[in-house]
Symmetry: D2
Subunit: 367 residues, 4 copies
């Protein structure tokens, strides 16, 4: 379904980096979800570029809720977030149409859209259009919080520097809120920033790995085929620009474990069933078991670097070199975190709506 | 959409390990695809248990094409593969309903289906139901071959033992056809089998990583949002039982690379655009660039092991231990390969049909 | 989605008139719906040909529930109904491929499937494949009954003969159960049968109009756009072979009414809101208002008649005449009623599941 | 999928009568469709209120193409049409929340949205939001014209007054372009306007029937199950406010015909296969046969009338009367015609895209 995703609660996105508006439509929302603008603004702030390791293009991300809100609550009709594109400098990008950036979408866009794509600033492939998505996700995240469900992501690895894993889930998740460079430890932030700045200084870029925890999702959510919770989360995450891998729980480390090490034994705790370990990241057979959902997402280094690169001239059909100018992020993983959190919120909200009906996420307030 | 997956070409699966039939329905097929029973049988053989590292339950996988075939070709109406369940021993499983196997779907099935699930042999969660899917995928794989598209997977890692990566794609892919334990080198097979047999002897199990290559897909296939080719492949693969991670190209290794190392420079070769390296696994911005599509899938160790495990008694709400008997695979990765190949074929065939129309995969034969 | 329909609860159908099996897969079912074989058999009997106005091809419609049932209840996994095709006489149909029956699907199938379609007995276009659908619908209808929801259809018009409209809904609906020629009055049946027999005697055929009532659906079900309850019902009904029109409430008669006549005034009755009249057929703005849902479906005369007809020879590209032999129904509306009832059940069950969650239709029995 | 509709080419709509914006997103568009603003404006003009038989609320329908257009062509990314709501008078509507208008969506909205709906001016149920849809449809209609496909609708019946049926399809369709009250004959317009004005003078309203013809669609488009062309068109049309019936070809008149009268004989004309009559409205077995597609849509009288009506007070749970003031259309069928044309364009464009691939509707211009 291309630019629409979800089963019971769907997200449609639109927009291009240098078009009039970028936007997102949430459909299938429960009526009566409270809209918390402060919370939305805080999530947008987490996505905004900041400091030496980000693009110089800073936009206010002033958004309009163009539909679906009335007197501070969702109406149940589609909720639309619009963000105008204000800080556009089209002239920076004019050569990218014929000399595609290696590993960016310039060339594949040309193959798919036959030259009609809006190539300015990456067009529809730009990370820019994730801003509306983050605002939409924030509305769902605050609804989820009222159901006891929290989501948080931190950078667990960045070019050799690493952070500790989640331990005390709720406290760790809460500690990440509002951080512009999300790590669980200060030393990790320091080491990672140093790596990113080093790359920036060389005109190069870095990627990294985000570790995400989602707590409070009840057991029994997800499907065995094909809409396993892992499938739905991965589908959403792999559409985020630069994501090249997703794993749940122990993930690729399972390859070197025995079953007896990998299995999470069940035990009774406070009258309920829990697992002693959580190698499976809270999901068995595609369905939640009530434990924290754990996943990792790898973000590749941003392809727009300032170093000279070999590429081709598509018009002349011959080899050439590309030396980028303009505004590009040497590091986006700290900003991508806001997008990953938003996508997770959308998937979890969707799966809960499909499971428990369209009123499930309502705030419980009366009218 | 739960047990139906795909955009233009959809796969619906049904069945339980100990029910009457398992089956798969392919809908949206081009009319005029030749049905090659020998090729289907060969793919089913790759999925069948064999030797010391597999379950003792061997079934003939006799399938019926119940609809959608006429005079040796697809009709364009839904094609249904049915496989009767013949070798059922229900008594082995009777305790699993109350004492769930750690990290299997027994407990989450109970949470979702409230006791009504067919718990015998894993029911709808059983790897058994992938047999119909492999047959369905084989029909598409032979259609893809006629378009110059080939798919192959090998075990690249298994409990410390490893195989070399793909090099000469077409030859490597061809060399894997028909192997019951797919590796690119004999020494890898030997080392991996030894690891698996060691685990089996201990009553334990192993997992591993499959590396998959898909060659011949034209540039320009996939969507920027949300149905990137990576999203669609990951969605399909994460519904295969035991898959816990999927990565494309360099995948998680991107975390420690610079952009200048990660980017794949373009160059002109034989008049066409290719990339010098292929760290991005043939996909930029969610869309194919014409290079081989490369992905890796991690399979966790099978959770059904013979070692004693801590679990709970759901009826009494207290801790207990579980000692499995019966027939269980200590290693399934060599069998899972047939399923991964089939899922990839289904996704590629779907994306091509969506892109180029419903007649695209027809054989070109006349009637 | 072609042969799959539904939002939360989906129906997939497959099969051809002369293939191995016809079948239907229901996915998204609540676990714990009781399977009542007697009720299913009774609904299948309503669809079976009988008497002078039906085809001579009578099949037992012996069905297998191939998956999704365990110990008499739905499991929550896909439920598959299979019906083998036993009474096949392929030789009757061999000329239809080149000389298409006027207003049947022979010609359009040729245009779409380029000669690969299974043309025997109408193939995938045959009314035959509605048998599995009726069985699937019956499972949902008995689940709906346990929620107080009943569905019934009668022939309200047939070549000039007419029946009275629904009056006492529940009693009228109940009176139709099990009738092989469903009318609310005996005189209507007599007059309609006479018309149908007259057509049959001439080698001709008749159609007619079915009026359907659905009672007990709570207010608030359906969507304003695009999945209005009318849209979903019409989508389903227009896929039933021979349906050429669907209207709700006063339907086409609205064209000659004033708003003041057409509007249904609200009033309080037994503490609840009801309407005094029901011209809108229980739906306003695409959403149920709690009143009976009323709709009419027109069935065109069966195109397979024994009279000589002008057609073309597709091979030679010239005009010719067609004189059918073999087994054809001169009247199918009494049989189509079982299909219309089933499709309505599927849509209502789907919309309730989407609205109230995937456990809504469970029987409430414990396990 | 609620506010998103379509298979390969989808339409998402959003907005409420008194919100910030109404809008529509077209996704799955071919790149390279020329955007003809003059043509779009002409279609919007056909939907705008005019004269004595329309609401006094006139809006300029100034639209913005917020995404998906670049240098005068579609980019292939989602195309978004935004229309600001400028002429809002909220105070007119304040009592409708507690005293619902008979046969409007006020009551069902309350049942579904529990009081959180934006009840001003009908909110998301308002005919207002069809404006964006008409603009989106216009883009597709001009693309279809370049493929030789034309769509036109006229009022064939309005409270006893009637127009002739389509005869010379192309000339008739062309004659309707730009008419604010679309009929094929001047006398029909005169008679119908008189009926509508009479109703308006009484504070009442009228409905009517639109007859639509679609010419130039190639044979072989549509599916046997469930996405017959009739199903898809009906699904789309039944979501248009006030539509209560849809029929194809002879429609409900089939009920009184014999098969020998109803069937459309085939004949060879100019080397191609055509039918002599067109009772089936160009569709057999759900698939186009190449003849003009003919359908009729009944529009009920607008429920907002100025006559006093019986209703209920939802707050107090007792009977009351409602006397509307403000701005309401006594007749909308001439305006609904623009919406019906647009929905048909969207469905035909979607089915062609699904059939022939995502580049099919491109203009053929080069870049």
């Amino acid at each position: 379904m291309k630019n629409t995703f979800g089963i019971a609660l769907t997200l449609t996105i639109f927009g291009e980096s240098h078009g009039e508006y970028i936007g997102a439509v949430l459909d299938g929302l429960a009526p009566g979800i409270k809209i918390d603008r402060e919370y939305i603004n805080a999530r947008l702030a987490e996505r905004r570029p900041s400091g030496k390791i980000s693009t110089a293009r800073v936009e206010a991300d002033e958004y309009i809720i163009a539909s679906g809100e009335f007197e501070g609550y969702t109406t149940g009709a589609p909720l639309t977030v619009l963000i105008p594109n204000t800080n556009k400098k089209s002239k920076d990008y004019s050569t990218l149409k014929t000399t595609p950036r290696p590993s960016h979408a310039d060339y594949t866009a040309e193959c798919k859209y036959h030259g009609f794509q809006d190539y300015r600033g990456g067009g529809h492939f730009s990370g820019r259009i994730t801003a509306a998505l983050v605002a939409a996700g924030a509305i769902l995240r605050s609804a989820l919080i009222s159901k006891g469900i929290k989501i948080g992501s931190h950078i667990v690895e960045l070019h050799g520097a690493s952070d500790r894993r989640f331990e005390d889930y709720e406290r760790d998740i809460d500690s990440l809120l509002g951080k512009s460079f999300p790590t669980l430890t200060d030393s990790a932030e320091e080491n990672m920033r140093r790596e990113a700045e080093k790359a920036a200084a060389m005109g190069d870029s870095v990627g990294g790995i985000l570790e995400t925890a989602i707590i409070g999702v009840p057991a029994g959510v997800g499907e065995p085929w094909f809409d396993t919770l892992e499938s739905m989360l991965a589908h959403a995450l792999f559409s985020v620009p630069a994501v090249k891998g997703v794993e749940f729980g122990a993930g690729f480390a399972f390859a070197d474990m025995y079953g007896s090490e990998a299995n999470d034994p069940f035990t009774i705790k406070d009258g309920g069933v829990v697992t002693v370990t959580n190698n499976n990241g809270g999901i068995n057979g595609g369905i939640t078991n009530g434990m924290p959902i754990l996943l990792s997402t790898v973000i590749k280094p941003t392809p727009s670097i300032f170093k000279e690169q070999a590429t081709v001239d598509l018009t002349e059909g011959k080899n050439t070199v590309l030396k980028l100018e303009g505004r590009h992020d040497p590091c986006i993983i700290h900003r991508a975190r806001a997008v990953v959190d938003a996508m997770c919120a959308i998937v979890i909200a969707d799966m809960l709506t499909a499971r428990f009906g369209t009123d499930y996420l309502a705030s419980g307030d009366k009218k």
